[in-house]
Amino acid sequence: MEANNDVALDIIITNVVSVFRTRCHLNLRTIALEGSNVIYKPEVGKVLMKLRKPRITASIWSSGKIICTGATSEEEAKLGARRLARCLQKLGFKVKFTAFKVVNVLAVCTMPFHIHLIQFTKNNRPIASYEPELHPAASYRIKNLKATVQVFSTGSITVTGPNVRHVAMAVEQIYPLLFECKSTMR
């Protein structure tokens, strides 16, 4: 879609959340005592392990389900997840790397103009909602993409969606709507 002709919009992915399963029971205490960068939370029943490269934080449960957050791209998320599994393997567990899925992608984008939120909300009545008492941004939910876009009056938007492609599509979809309600050029 030729939504942005003159200026290329930079969509910066800031966070990718993914899950995978190791299909084996993990002893959290062993991980906690033998890993060098772990935080053990026995009350909740999980271990947080942080990798330096790629910068990822993983929540590990004893059932073998693991959630990885903090990656900056889908590939990085997968790499980090695999590294983590390798690390657990070395600790002595018979891990398998199954059911890897990227669950959530958070991206940030800045429009080159400011946005009149009240007008934007009026134009997109049921889909967009703006409550200045609660949150300074107007939130726009795209049902078919299952993505949510939060629009700030400065022109920055944050998009969350199930994967990067959906996020890109969401930005393309919302650009014309925002362009209608722009207020000042930067």
Binding site: R23, A32, L33, E34, G35, S36, N37, Y40, P42, E43, L51, R52, K53, E75, K78, L79, R82, R83, A85, R86, C87, Q89, K90, L91, V95, K96, F97, T98, F100, H114, H116, L117, I118, T121, K122, R125, P126, S129, Y130, E131, P132, E133, L134, P136, A137, F152, S153, T154, S183, T184, R186
Partner: protein, 680 residues
């Protein structure tokens, strides 16, 4: 009731009498039907003398099944669940609405919203209070009343964001578009609360103008309307010579001081603020301002540009400094003492392939990790060298300072610096080169496993090994962790023991849910002593307390211990009588209790000693006898009974650490009793 043919005479003329419930043949007079069931509304007389209709109303939209009246005997007698919900909701709406001073029309509208919500099953899984509040707020928004969501959350003591979530959901499900809040709506309300007296209207008008100005200057998008109102009102008040402090305004408007100040500064930045009061009232500036975030953005841009220029300048200066450093280094080299020991060979061998390895280690792209590693490595070297060679240390420190500034130092810098600093623990020597190479040249893998096998491509085992601690470290960590989490581990162990024990006994109950605490009846007692006794019965605190002593504590003056001991002749009978009389003494109100607190501990501790309690009790018995006359005859039925048990247990008493009665009984109770008695 079809008219039939009479059986006896064949006549078709049948008279049906509704009142009697008969069907009689007109011809022969034979009764064809008796006790006909009629479906008319009947009335019965109730206790008040009025009459009410018999039967239940069944709504056309409901299920029509009536609840059994056996167990649930509520005031909403015989109504089905939906009607009950609606009735309950209506009651709550009215209650809240009256607190907000909403008129009846609004309340009715709110009730309509509520009915819609119930039909769409939005009340399921949500607190009724939240849904009710959301309905009310929806009405407020559609009608444009100056009620904030904060007001509702104040009334309900619920987090405003939770209410907001429910409200948004409701608005979306009911497809009701609530118009956006205009801060101008709040001005009259806040102005009224700030009590401007006669000039209320003028101040409001001024504040309104200010607000409109703010809107045109783009201060209001994305901001809480109450904050803007607060700022406008503050300025308006000052303009009309009312001294309203910031604190007063924020207590009315419910924002924090920082927010208000920020709004005021933003307003100050607009050209409108430069006008005088008169001018402002008359003139409306044409030009519009940029939003404050926009100006902030511009400022950031400018700062960035400045930094860029500065960086360039630093580069130039850097060059000069480096040349000076070169000279200094040369001088130092010549005067440097020879290196001895293991480091000497290290230094010599590294310096040769120094620049080469460093250059190779960075094939062009600077990862952040690389920079960090380099910086770390350099730091290490510097520390290391500053010990060996204080002279060189100064130079390297000076260098480091300039290096820190120029973060944008270009790649070609590295080889010369390395040679300047002398032997550098390179990536190779630190064993990191492999991992660095891997990081840089890593490509991603796809086509992963459906069978669950871990694809090891691109994963560097060495680095991962580093994530795993070796044995010694594991031991240390284990110790530390055990120490830190000792409490938690203890709890877990106790829990397990408990479960094991219960399993043995066969009464192991899985997941004991919390039973609601037993409600105790409030103690009714006419005197403090009586209250103490009753409370002690209920609580059953300890078998080791000498309850005698406790009862004696509200007795005055005569210290029982010092009295001459009249050992009772017959311990058994005498004890009882003594006790009874002691009870009465304990209940005596004339005794001051101020000395109780001091005497508590010594009495208890003395009592808890090895000496049998009997002698003391004897003494007390005697004391009790002495003061019995002053006491009022109040009969305490349960006293002696409880006492016996306590007494017997006390006879077998063991050594026990001194616990004060205060602690045993829970300080509060006792304190209360003490206070009561003081007054009397």
């Amino acid at each position: 009731m079809s008219s039939r043919v009479c059986k006896t005479c064949g006549c078709t003329d049948i008279d049906i009498d509704q009142a009697r419930g008969n069907a009689v043949c007109m011809g022969c007079g034979s009764v064809l039907e008796d006790n006909i069931i009629v479906s008319e509304v009947t009335f019965v007389e109730n206790s008040g003398g009025g009459s009410s209709a018999v039967g239940q109303f069944v709504a056309s939209d409901g299920t029509g099944k009536t609840p059994v009246l056996g167990s649930g005997f509520h005031t909403t007698l015989g109504k089905e669940s939906r009607a009950q919900t609606l009735l309950n909701g209506k009651r709550q709406i009215n209650h809240l609405g009256h607190q907000l001073q909403l008129n009846q029309h609004c309340l009715d509208t709110a009730f309509n919203f509520f009915k819609m919500a119930v039909c769409k099953h939005l009340t399921r899984g949500r607190k009724m209070a939240h849904v009710v509040a959301a309905c009310l707020y929806l009405v407020c928004r559609t009608e444009g009343t100056p009620h904030m969501l904060l007001d509702l959350s104040d009334l309900l003591q619920v987090n405003v964001y939770i209410l907001g979530r429910t409200f948004l959901l409701l608005a979306r499900e009911l497809c009701i578009n609530a118009p956006a809040i205009d801060p101008c709506l709040y001005i009259p309300r806040f102005a009224h609360m700030l009590e401007f007296g006669e000039k209320n209207h003028e101040v409001s008008m001024t504040a309104l103008r200010l607000l409109q100005r703010m809107k045109r200057d783009w201060m209001h998008t994305g901001r809480r309307p109450s904050g803007l109102c607060g700022a406008a009102l503050l300025v308006a008040a000052r303009m009309h010579e009312f001294r309203r402090t910031v604190k007063e305004v924020i207590s009315v408007v419910k924002v924090c001081e920082a927010t208000l100040r920020k709004r005021l500064t933003e307003f100050e930045d607009t050209p409108t603020s430069q006008l005088t009061i008169d001018e402002f009232m008359r003139v409306d500036l044409e030009q519009e301002c940029d939003p404050p975030s926009f100006t902030a953005g511009q400022r950031k841009l400018r700062l960035q540009q400045l930094e860029h220029e500065l960086a360039k300048k630093i580069d130039e200066v850097q060059g000069e400094i480096c040349s000076y450093q070169d000279e200094i280094e040369l001088e130092l080299e010549s005067s440097r003492p020879k290196l001895k020991g293991p480091y000497a060979s290290y230094a010599r061998e590294d310096s040769s392939d120094d620049s080469v390895s460093v250059a190779s280690g960075l094939p062009g792209n600077e990862d952040d990790a690389d920079e960090e590693l380099k910086a770390a490595a350099q730091q290490l070297t510097k520390d290391f060298y500053s010990e060996l060679m204080p002279g060189a240390g100064e130079a390297s420190r000076a260098e480091e300072g300039s290096e820190a500034e120029s973060e944008q130092v270009v790649l070609p810098r590295y080889p010369p610096l390395a040679s300047l600093l002398g032997p550098l623990p390179t990536a190779a020597s630190l064993g990191l080169s492999e991992s660095i190479q891997k990081c840089i040249t890593e490509k991603d893998v796809d086509g992963n496993s459906e069978n669950g096998e871990l694809d090891l491509k691109g994963i560097d085992d060495d680095e991962i090994e580093r994530y795993i601690l070796n044995e010694k470290e594991v031991k240390i960590k284990t110790e530390l962790w055990m120490q830190q989490n000792a409490d938690y581990l203890k709890e877990q162990k106790e829990k397990e023991e408990r479960i094991a024990k219960e399993k043995e006994l066969g009464i192991y109950k899985e997941q004991k849910p919390k039973r609601p605490p037993k409600k105790r009846e409030p103690i009714r007692a006419s005197t403090a002593g009586e209250a103490i006794e009753k409370m002690l019965e209920q609580k059953k605190i300890s078998s080791k307390i000498n309850y005698d002593v406790l009862r004696d504590l509200d007795k005055k003056g005569s210290s029982p211990g010092a009295q001459p001991e009249e050992t009772p002749s017959s311990p058994g009978g005498r004890k009882l009588s003594g006790r009874r009389k002691r009870n009465m003494a304990a209940l005596g109100l004339g005794n001051p209790i101020s000395s109780v607190g001091k005497r508590l501990r010594p009495l208890i501790s003395a009592h808890v000693g090895k000496k049998p309690a009997s002698s003391q009790q004897a003494a007390k018995a005697s004391a009790a006898v002495v003061t019995a006359e002053t006491s009022q005859p109040v009969v305490v039925e349960s006293g002696p009974v409880v006492y016996e048990d306590a007494m017997e247990e006390e006879e077998e008493e063991e050594e026990e650490p001194c616990v004060s009665a205060m602690q045993l009984m829970g300080g509060n109770d006792y304190g209360c009793d003490v206070d009561d008695d003081d007054g009397l």
